[in-house]
């Protein structure tokens, strides 16, 4: 693997090894290459996941991030490696962007022992302690107070870390959103709340779930800074999220950010998304953030041959991850009790 998909990308030049010498200097183009690679990896991993799901290799629910890649990748580019991330059940892209290995992710989807959570969490519960990926959570909005608690710990210890908390616009209606955001504002916690507004709460459009469609109007009630923008351009996402991350790190103040985005697939694999028209989807696909980033690379002078080579590398990586997941063993039943309690089983 030539580039690690992680959050280090703003602090070193990850493309130096494959794009020729860069003399250690940070280059904006190299950075975009790195972000494009992550977005493309997420897209391809998820396409392969959908295929594996259809083949019965992945069970349960599978909520794909396809179409929203610029949010996770752009946001993570604004972090330091030690910063924390908490997110929802639509967590594959976020986990990869934070630095989880594709092998560990695929093996987790397959329910294998080599998965990030030893096959016990599955699609909705991607946890990776080394990269400070603090999980995907399956109860809408229930993770928002928890994320505020992670930020609380950073303030308590004075460790200078920032927490990013992702959720969909569907979470804005549940109590967990109000309580988590309210306490973060009250106690001035170093956290950025990122509402990925993809316009549908499961199968129900925004117009039928919220009386006020601008999520950032809620921030006024908490006395919190806010920002709102479209998330088709990964560089713009990074720039805007960085402002909120800096606010959290430098002044320990939270921000509520609403990014307007769109998922190309249904809510989960079982959702054919009949609640929206083909024309709407086609229109939104014209703003595909992955294609947009690729076009930007070429227009900025990055050779197409290198883009193609990079894409082939990703293909190889995805193929290897599928093979790894296929060939990994199931977890042994003995891990059940050991992972329920730290110490002797308590019954």
């Amino acid at each position: 693997m030539a580039i690690e998909t992680n959050s280090h990308i703003t602090h070193r030049d990850p493309s130096a090894t494959e794009n020729g010498p860069s003399n250690g200097l940070h280059s904006e183009l190299d950075h975009l290459v790195s972000m494009y690679r992550q977005m493309y990896l997420i897209r391809r991993i998820e396409e392969e996941s959908a295929r594996a799901y259809a083949q019965g290799k992945i069970g349960g629910f599978l909520h794909l991030y396809i179409g929203q890649e610029a949010v996770g990748v752009g946001a993570m580019a604004a972090l330091k490696p030690e910063d924390y991330v908490v997110t929802t059940y639509r967590d594959h892209g976020i986990a990869l962007a934070k630095g989880m290995s594709p092998n560990a992710l695929m093996a987790e989807l397959w329910g294998k022992k080599t998965g990030c959570s030893q096959g016990l969490g599955g699609s909705m519960h991607m946890f990776d302690e080394p990269t400070h990926m603090l999980g995907g959570y399956g109860i809408v909005g229930g993770h928002i107070p928890l994320a505020a608690g992670v930020a609380f710990a950073s303030k308590y210890r004075g460790d200078g870390r920032v927490t990013l908390c992702f959720f969909g616009e569907g979470a804005v209606s549940i109590a967990g959103f109000h309580e988590g955001v309210s306490l973060a504002a009250l106690w001035k916690l170093p956290i950025v709340f990122i509402c990925e507004n993809n316009e549908y709460s499961m199968g129900t459009p925004l117009s039928r779930t919220m009386s006020v469609e601008d999520v950032t109007t809620k921030a006024i009630g908490y006395g919190m800074a806010s920002d709102r923008f479209f998330a088709d351009d990964v560089q713009e996402v990074e720039r805007r999220i960085r402002q909120a991350v800096d606010r959290a790190r430098e002044t320990s103040l939270p921000t509520l950010v609403e990014v307007r985005t769109y998922r190309f697939r249904g809510h989960s694999m079982s959702d054919p998304a009949k609640y929206r028209t083909a024309a709407e989807l086609e229109d939104r696909k014209k703003k595909d953030p992955v294609i947009r980033a690729r076009a930007k690379l070429l227009s900025d002078g990055y050779p197409e041959s290198k883009v193609t080579a990079l894409e082939q590398e990703v293909e190889d990586e995805v193929t290897a991850a599928v093979k790894f997941a296929d060939e990994s063993p199931d977890p042994d039943p003995s891990i059940l009790e050991a992972t329920t309690y730290d110490g002797p089983f308590a019954s």
Partner: protein, 329 residues
């Protein structure tokens, strides 16, 4: 040496000692600080530790329970006070879906070393929404530990163990016990979770109880003694893990068993104990196991009806007489 102190003072001492030895421990809840605690359990702690470590919250149980869980996940050791366990119902999602499951769903990568504590079950005429015995709901959940002390000494030792435990531990304190006094040894340290205590020796029947109901069982045992019936009282102290061995040893000796608790009769700790005893000590039993519980209705406000609903010593006496075949059927 030992001192005679109140239940609430024992809890407070435990928290203070653990906060002094470990900077990661903090107390959070409604009115725990400036108000000095709704039930004065945390009285004086704000002065001692300051606002960083004794933290008043808004009325937002789901929010501050979740804050505690997130903080525990990355290495702090929170003590979260619910003003009463009744209100924990609005934080049930946090305790059930996050605290209890974090370790398992992360494949063992993340622990949740947190204590949830506060008054539980009935007080006096506070109506149905403030009189719930909530321990049954939580004791069924793998990933949690649940303790319910009856005496100041146990309250202190179990609280210290709970704070040092690397798992989520729920400490259910009976509101009616806060002012009860008891001997607490000066050098008392941790009382391990999961060990019941035989608080009264007897030979004719085993009465299993916990929290306030241990006192009810002791009153019943004193009455029974006058009638020539010798009751052994087992105070569970810990509901999960449950000390099966101590219960079974006692039933092997007495051959009869009555379980007393404040929760409702459907399912619950009494059913759990009865199941284990009949399954693991069937040959030792000379009578069916009986349960004495709160009546199967929400708690009424009226004082006489309330007393009728909550187990009283006379109901325990009657149940014991049935299992020793000395009363009316």
């Amino acid at each position: 040496m030992a001192r005679n102190i109140r239940f609430r003072e024992a809890l407070r001492e435990a928290m203070i000692e653990e906060m002094e030895r470990d900077e990661r421990v903090f107390l959070m809840g409604e009115e725990v600080g400036h108000y000095q605690g709704a039930y004065k359990v945390s009285e004086g702690m704000l002065d001692k530790f300051g606002e960083k470590r004794v933290i008043d919250t808004p009325i937002a149980e789901g929010g501050f329970a979740g804050i505690g869980i997130g903080a525990a996940m990355v290495g702090l050791r929170p003590i979260i006070e619910f003003m009463t366990w009744n209100f924990s119902a609005v934080a049930f999602d946090q305790i059930l879906n996050n605290a209890a499951k974090l370790r398992q769903m992360s494949g063992g990568q993340f622990n949740c070393p947190i204590v949830f504590r506060g008054p539980n079950a009935s007080a006096k005429q506070v109506g149905s929404q403030h009189s719930h015995a909530m321990e049954h709901f939580y004791a069924t959940v793998p990933g949690l530990k649940v303790v319910a002390p009856a005496y100041p000494s146990d309250a202190k030792g179990l609280m210290k163990a709970a704070i040092r435990d690397d798992n989520p531990v729920l400490v259910m304190e009976s509101e009616t016990l806060y002012s009860v006094k008891g001997e607490v040894a000066d050098d008392l340290d941790v009382i391990p979770l999961g060990r019941a205590n035989v608080v009264r020796q007897g030979k004719d029947v085993t009465i299993v109880a916990y929290s306030r109901m241990t006192h009810v069982a002791m009153d019943a045992a004193a009455q029974l003694e006058k009638e020539g019936i010798s009751a052994e009282v087992v105070d569970l102290r810990s509901l999960r893990p449950l000390d099966e061995d101590t219960i079974l040893d006692s039933v092997e000796k007495t051959h009869r068993c009555v379980v007393v608790h404040e929760g409702w009769p459907y399912g619950g700790v009494g059913a759990e104990v009865a199941d284990r005893v009949q399954r693991l000590a069937f040959d030792a039993l000379d009578a069916p196991i009986l349960r004495v519980t709160t009546l199967d209705v929400p708690m009424p406000y009226n004082a006489k009806l309330e007393q009728l609903c909550i187990p009283q010593p006379d109901r325990v006496v009657a149940a014991v007489k049935r299992v020793v075949y000395r009363g009316q059927a």
